[in-house]
């Protein structure tokens, strides 16, 4: 039976909702409205003059093959980051969950990378893979592989994906581990007694029970890959070589901050807003159906 709290009157519920609505209005609706408004203009950087151009900013963007291509780059990048960070985190969580001795130490070590800021993580990985002085690229060279992410787009993409996923593994690991430990041992033991092997138990019991957490992490990680990986990309590749690692968010920065082209930058923000809105709707409409609470 479902429990419901029913408010009498309208004042109290409205008063309780008000702060949330106010915060959303001030920090979301207002800036989003401004971005939409600004996307219709080409202003000069100092705000001295502004030309109304209608939808020209959008037309200009969508006619640019490099901009269209960065949708694909973003898709490849965010999917790779999400799957890599969630996959490894799940694997580590399963291993840590089975561990009894000194599991605390392992857990602490695994959580560490989360404390590293994206830009710092970027610099760290950049140094390890530096084409001339990096330790990893040096060993790769010994093995006969000439690592050069400065000129090879595929390698550059691989590097920013790994660097972005790395710090994220810790965060996902924490959630997966908590989820695994919340699964009643008796259920698993019962299945084991029935003769179900580890893989069968995982597929039919553990993973379905983990699905709410997996879904939550999926949403959070996609948003992370879209918006918070800026620092990693900026420090490692700055969007290059050519435009192989220029994801949508990076282009907003490049046009807005480097190019002082505020109209184009605003238009890109609007496109991103719509895109992320769509993604969220898709995730909740289609993927959430497969989640068992």
């Amino acid at each position: 039976m479902e429990k419901r709290v029913i408010f009498r009157g309208k004042v109290l519920p409205l008063a309780l909702v008000f702060p949330q609505v106010l915060i959303t209005a001030v920090f979301f609706f207002w800036p989003a409205g401004q971005a939409i408004w600004q996307s219709l203009f080409i202003p000069d950087p100092f705000g001295l003059s502004s030309q109304f151009v209608g939808l020209d900013n959008f037309r200009y963007l969508l006619s640019d093959p490099y901009y269209r291509n960065s949708f694909l780059t973003t898709a490849i990048f965010s999917l790779s980051v999400t799957f890599l960070s969630m996959g490894i985190a799940l694997l580590l969580a399963i291993l840590a969950d089975r561990l009894i001795k000194s599991s605390g130490t392992y857990r602490t070590l695994l959580i560490w990378p989360y404390a590293v800021a994206p830009a710092v993580a970027g610099v760290l990985w950049m140094f390890m893979f530096n084409t001339r002085v990096g330790i990893v690229s040096w060993y790769l060279g010994k093995l006969g592989y000439d690592w050069n992410h400065v000129l090879n787009g595929g390698e550059a993409m691989g590097l920013v994906v790994v660097a972005s996923a790395w710090g994220r593994i810790s965060y996902n690991f924490l959630f997966f581990l908590a989820g695994l430990q919340a699964i009643p041992k008796s259920v698993i033991e019962a299945a084991a007694i029935d003769g179900a092997h580890f893989w069968t138990r995982f597929r039919t019991i553990v993973f379905p029970l983990l699905s709410p957490i997996t879904f939550f992490l999926l949403v959070v990680n996609v948003i992370y890959a879209f918006f918070e990986t800026f620092g990693v990309i900026h420090t490692i590749t700055a969007g290059g070589p050519q435009q192989s690692t220029t994801i949508l968010v990076y282009k907003v920065y490049a046009d807005g901050f480097v190019g002082q082209d505020l109209g184009s930058s605003a238009a890109q923000s609007v496109i991103l807003l719509v895109l992320v809105g769509l993604l969220t709707v898709i995730q909740f409409k289609f993927i959430e159906r497969k989640v068992h609470y």
Binding site: P45, F46, L48, Q51, V133, A238, Q242, G263
Partner: protein, 436 residues
């Protein structure tokens, strides 16, 4: 204490307070950290203690892009500093913002007193003056690309350290020998667009863009896909394919490889001198930037990079007097000569260059005068005065992308430069529209 002495006491206290408050304070936002930041603070300190009328507050605001952004944001909020350090690629943005800046020549005229705009090196000043010769911002830290040579590596490869590297043809022959001798990095570069397209164009008296490289109007179009530029990029592309030119990144990443003794030749800013001198444990020499001998009129002169000081509008006239005093102080020979010798940046006035020569600095530090000579050997032409292009930071990004396609062998030099010109022109049209 009787009433009279009390009144006198109050009056005298107020008087001293008045004196203390009379110092006009001005804000100066800059992008320097580390050693350069220290040297800049020293200059400001010297100015502040040299008189009591004015006080300069210097604040570091991040790298060049961040400082420019901070200045723009502050202007929009009505909190702009008096002086803003802006890198050379921001020149067109500042110049187009007519209501936001107060041209330096105007500041100086209004403040009165002696100020001679002709005292500045014309190759430096030219970058920041209008077509009718009026100085818009004060040149401060300017550098130009030169060729750094690792003499030990040349010797190791069996090449005479005195080998002629004045032309790219000769450089090509030397690179062959270095490669044959098994040197892993015969040549590398910093700031590829600045050195190998912007300066290459000026040095060979080729237009980088129409309308005097943008000086004569915002309706300019890029034109760096001419035969000389294509030939140069093609040569570099071939060297990259053959492992003679090693690309290390868009900024000055190559500096680490050169200072570490891995690379034999290195094209980089003259301001890189201090770093190379401090770190290199091999013999090195500074040579002029090479040129293609078959191009008529080459070598012309190279152009500068670095930053200049812009004065922002919207302040009191008394404060502008303070600004004028401070800018004159920065241009004075002693301060400039010191700055030039400490940093490797060019002296911005002829007097400072003279003083440095007389002090014997060039004799003690061979190669430090190469940059200055390279800039001043010939009177600048419309093609070699400098560049004034909107969205130039982004255009450089486009050039970087297209050059990377050449180095990796994905595109021919002609196709890459054509594409860079086309993409850059779109940005120029947007800039023109924003600044109509």
């Amino acid at each position: 204490m009787n009433r009279k002495t009390l009144a006198l006491g109050i009056a005298s206290t107020m008087l001293t307070l008045n004196v203390a408050q009379a110092a006009t304070e001005i804000d100066f936002w800059h992008a320097f950290t580390g050693r350069l930041g220290e040297l800049l603070n020293e200059q400001v300190e010297t100015f502040n203690s040299s008189q009591e009328e004015y006080k300069v507050n210097a604040t570091h605001k991040g790298n060049y892009s961040e400082t420019l952004n901070a200045g723009i944001a502050a202007f929009r909020a009505g909190e702009q500093p008096h002086i803003l350090q802006v890198f050379e690629v921001g020149t067109a943005t500042m110049m187009a913002a007519e209501g936001a800046i107060k041209p330096v020549y105007e500041v100086m005229e209004e403040a009165g007193g002696d100020w001679d705009p002709d005292g500045y090196l014309s190759a430096v000043k030219g970058y920041y003056t209008t077509t009718d010769g009026q100085m818009l911002s004060l040149p401060y830290n300017s550098s130009t690309p030169v060729l750094y040579v690792n003499l030990d590596l040349l010797e190791e490869a069996g090449i005479d350290p005195g080998v002629d590297l004045s032309t790219w043809e000769k450089v090509g022959e030397t690179l062959d020998k270095l490669k044959e001798a098994g040197i892993s990095c015969p040549m590398t570069t910093a700031w590829q667009s600045w050195v190998h397209l912007e300066n290459l164009s000026a040095y060979h008296d080729q237009p980088f863009a129409t309308k005097e490289n943008g000086f004569a109007g915002v309706d300019t179009e890029l034109s760096f896909n001419g035969p000389v530029q294509v030939k140069h990029v093609e040569a570099l592309g071939n060297w990259a394919q053959e492992g003679k030119f090693i690309y290390t990144g868009r900024r000055n990443e190559g500096g680490a490889n050169f200072r570490g003794g891995e690379c034999a030749l290195f094209t980089e800013s003259s301001a890189g001198y201090a770093g190379v001198k401090a770190e290199a444990d091999f013999d090195f020499e500074i040579r002029p930037l090479p040129y293609w001998s078959e191009v008529e009129g080459a070598p012309q002169n190279t152009i500068i990079g670095g930053a200049s000081l812009w004065v922002l509008s919207g302040h009191e006239s008394e404060e502008y007097n303070a600004v004028a005093e401070f800018l004159k102080f920065l241009s004075s020979s002693d301060i400039q000569a010191q700055w030039h010798q400490n940093t490797g940046y060019l002296p911005i006035t002829t007097a400072a260059a003279e003083q440095t020569r007389e002090e014997g600095f060039y004799d003690e530090n061979p190669g430090t005068d190469v940059a200055g000579k390279q800039m001043t050997a010939k009177e600048p032409t419309p093609n070699s005065k400098g560049l004034r292009l909107g969205s130039f930071d982004q255009i450089r990004g486009i050039i970087d992308e297209e050059l990377e396609a050449v180095w990796s062998g994905d595109k021919s030099a002609q196709a890459a430069l054509d594409s860079a010109v086309e993409r850059g022109n779109q940005l120029l049209r947007r800039f023109e529209r924003a600044n109509q």
